[in-house]
Symmetry: C2
Subunit: 473 residues, 2 copies
């Protein structure tokens, strides 16, 4: 089990333009066990994480900008043990019954420990799990409601449950056996996988990526409790400096004196349609009276096809580095459509974004066994706009961008001259890239396109030589 | 399609002691198309609905007792057209495109029209449907939240959608063609059955009663809108006087000067364990300081196996008619466990109950394809206690009753002398009744038991002669 997950998490970027993952296009066939996440910032580090180390400089009249939007439930949790206590806690962890984590479990430890799931302080106990599953929200002790649409849970098998016995605390070990955390005041309860899947995805059809890779192979119990993480989670893949915590992001927004932060969740390469959208959003915010709106361009970096983000589009001056922060969102991807988009938005609240851009079919995918979208493409934004606990977040729905064959550029679709617009689907783009054909002028900056074509060539070459091995891994 | 549903709704009482419906025990094989609901009050009408007609008499210092608990969203809706307008509205309805309802659709019209689903004013539009499906609650315009766990929707097929065309309103006709309502300012949207089923039941396994009978045969679109009901829904089965509306119940609680109302949802015959529980609840309420707690004994009367309620137990003086109101809850049954129990509780808020008794596995059933309970038997009360919009309701969890072989009566289970207790399962009781064997003394009053045995004998006789016909109906 952990091997399967390991190979997945360690899979290379599967670069794709499609707006939904296809279970037929290499989800499992692109695995190269020893490779790392492929992320190609192309030397363009508009945002220099090093600057985070410098003392925060406020403008002459300091304003606590992180109050643009409060984290869910109050102050951000920070579940990493202070350095001075690490030795003693590690010794204690060694004395406890152990739970071995998968790489995806570790990603969740990372997510929880930095406060993305604020106010969650650990893996969910049953009360939290049930509220998440049934209400997509948690009621806090003061009666207030926070959004919590995905169950953030840790599964254990019967044998591990047996080994834990009546212990109140357990040590959590990474896939390589290193102790990474203590889970305190634990509660063990049943993992009804069918119910979890049905209520999270709205289907139980076989072929859902997270279900197949994570839930089906997992144990029949869930273990909740409070996390104490022994040291910050690092992946040592050359990209850790992009993995800014909510606290770091909030500080950076303050440093730049942002008066609005708009987050853009990505799992596909940026093309000019996206750039158009982000610039248009900025324009709308300026028109609303904001003086310094900052874009959080925030590709998801956890379990997924780990889509590459060719930052070349920035190089061409389409997006302005002064008003854009690029960082990695460390969450795994569920592809659970309207349920998951709430999580994507909620986590960005915790990171200090008070505007969230949402498009067509967010976190959606094709139905795994039927020839249709799994979710109604409009449900994501509708559900998001009504979701409990997200009232304080400003939802900015996408306008649909398409290629304007008259203006020869990406533009917002104008229904009054519909036939002037070309919708370039993910499949179409992939065909262009695979066959070496160029997309229409102005769809993407030429530099970015070259990177994609080369990437496809490398994938095709690799498939030709490695497919049998990859399939068996 | 409508025939299947018709035969079901018109099925006789299928008397059973089981706490869950089994898809193997006659759910479909007991159909007698021309019979009516079997409900046997045995001449014992403790509550005389006629009294409702008399002017409400307040005590010398009048107190607005219906303020024990406010209906969800404010005043109770009353969607029945005033008598003076019926003629004109009926003429208008005749001029509109028609939607033909099933018997179960009519039950929902009934439920909505009397305010059980307050503040819902008609079948759900998509915004309400999505909130119900994802959040089990609705956010009202003033920002407040009401519980709404089951989608209350009306399905139409492609042909009906075509026929409606661009009309803003439609006429709703009953199964026999009679116009019963107008649905105004309609909205038609897709009926994704798989997603509805998965999110409502937490499974998509075949064999869920409501799914098989109602959802699978239904059309691919849902139509929402505001209801205007042309005249009160009546079933003419001799039991309409038991179908008290929330408004009538509230008036009756006032008339009796109730200072607490505790509701007990039933779909199985009352036995002495129930009686013990209800009396114990009354005792607890008196201990809490309430002077006049009233029990709402409230069997569900819509689509279901329509379990009989042998009121004989009342005859034996176990429950006090002065402090008990027996009425029928007109809702269809989903058997959707933790999702449905919220509906059962919410509807009773609207009827004026401020206490709700909840037991083991409420609205649960056996898994339709696996040998286990579909729901964790404790999840119902846990979910209920955390459900959004139900904060104002007092949840009273069951204590487990069992047969005490020492005291020879039903008593609350005492774990310290576990072996003195006999758990009489539904299956065991049915076996007793079928074989003519008596249950232990004190389990149920002898008169009640006789009724059950006779009922089983009649079923068996009927099965022997009618089974082939019944199976084919």
């Amino acid at each position: 089990m952990s091997l399967t997950i390991k190979s997945h998490v360690a899979s290379p970027t599967y670069l794709s333009f499609t707006t939904k993952p296809s279970r037929f296009t290499g989800y499992n066939s692109k695995i190269r066990p020893n490779s790392i996440y492929h992320f190609n910032p192309l030397k363009l580090t508009y945002y220099q994480p090093k600057k985070m180390q410098a003392p925060v400089q406020y403008s002459p009249a300091p304003v606590i900008k992180s109050s643009l939007i409060e984290p869910d439930g109050g102050a951000l949790v920070d579940l990493v043990v202070p350095e001075g206590e690490r030795g003693a806690k590690t010794i204690e962890a060694e004395s406890l019954p152990k739970v071995r984590l998968t790489k995806i479990d570790v990603e969740w430890v990372h997510v929880i420990s930095e406060g993305w799931a604020n106010p969650l302080k650990g893996f969910m106990r049953e009360d939290e799990y049930l509220q998440s599953l049934h209400f997509n929200s948690l009621r806090l002790k003061d009666g207030s409601i926070v959004n919590m649409s995905l169950p953030i849970v840790l599964a254990i098998d019967d044998e591990t449950k047996e080994r834990i016995g009546s212990s109140s605390h357990v040590g959590l070990a990474g896939p390589d056996g290193d102790l990474i955390a203590i889970l305190r005041s634990i509660e063990i309860y049943k993992h009804n996988k069918e119910e979890r899947i049905a209520r999270t995805w709205g289907t139980t059809a076989p072929g859902l990526p997270y279900v197949e890779e994570v839930i089906i192979p997992a144990g029949n119990f869930l273990i909740g409790g409070d996390l104490e993480v022994l040291k910050p989670i690092k992946y040592n893949d050359g990209l850790d400096h992009y993995r800014l915590s909510p606290k770091q992001l909030r500080k950076e927004f303050d440093r730049r004196n942002a008066d609005a932060v708009f987050a853009f969740q990505l799992r596909n390469p940026v093309h000019n349609g996206h750039a158009l959208l982000m610039n248009d959003t900025r324009r709308r915010l300026l028109e609303m009276g904001f003086k310094n709106p900052i874009l959080l361009l925030h590709p998801l970096g956890g379990f997924t096809k780990a889509d590459d983000v060719p930052l070349d589009v920035l190089e061409d001056g389409v997006l302005d580095p002064k008003t854009t922060i690029v960082a990695i969102f460390p969450s795994p991807m569920h592809y659970a459509g309207p349920t998951e988009v709430q999580w994507h938005a909620k986590a960005r609240i915790n990171a200090g974004a008070n505007f969230y851009i949402v498009g067509r079919d967010p976190a959606g995918m094709g139905h795994p066994t039927e020839k249709r979208d799994l979710y109604d493409p409009d449900h994501g934004k509708k559900v998001l706009s009504m979701a409990p606990g997200l009232e304080k977040l400003n939802i900015l729905p996408f306008r649909v961008a398409a290629y304007d064959i008259v203006a020869k550029k990406m533009a917002f679709f104008d229904p009054s001259r519909a036939k002037d617009f070309l919708f370039i689907s993910g499949t179409k783009m992939r065909t262009y890239a695979r066959t070496g054909e160029n997309p229409p002028d102005g769809f993407m900056c030429p530099g970015g396109w070259e990177v994609l074509v080369k990437y496809y060539e490398s994938l095709q070459a690799e498939e030709a030589t490695q497919q049998p091995a990859a399939v068996s891994s």
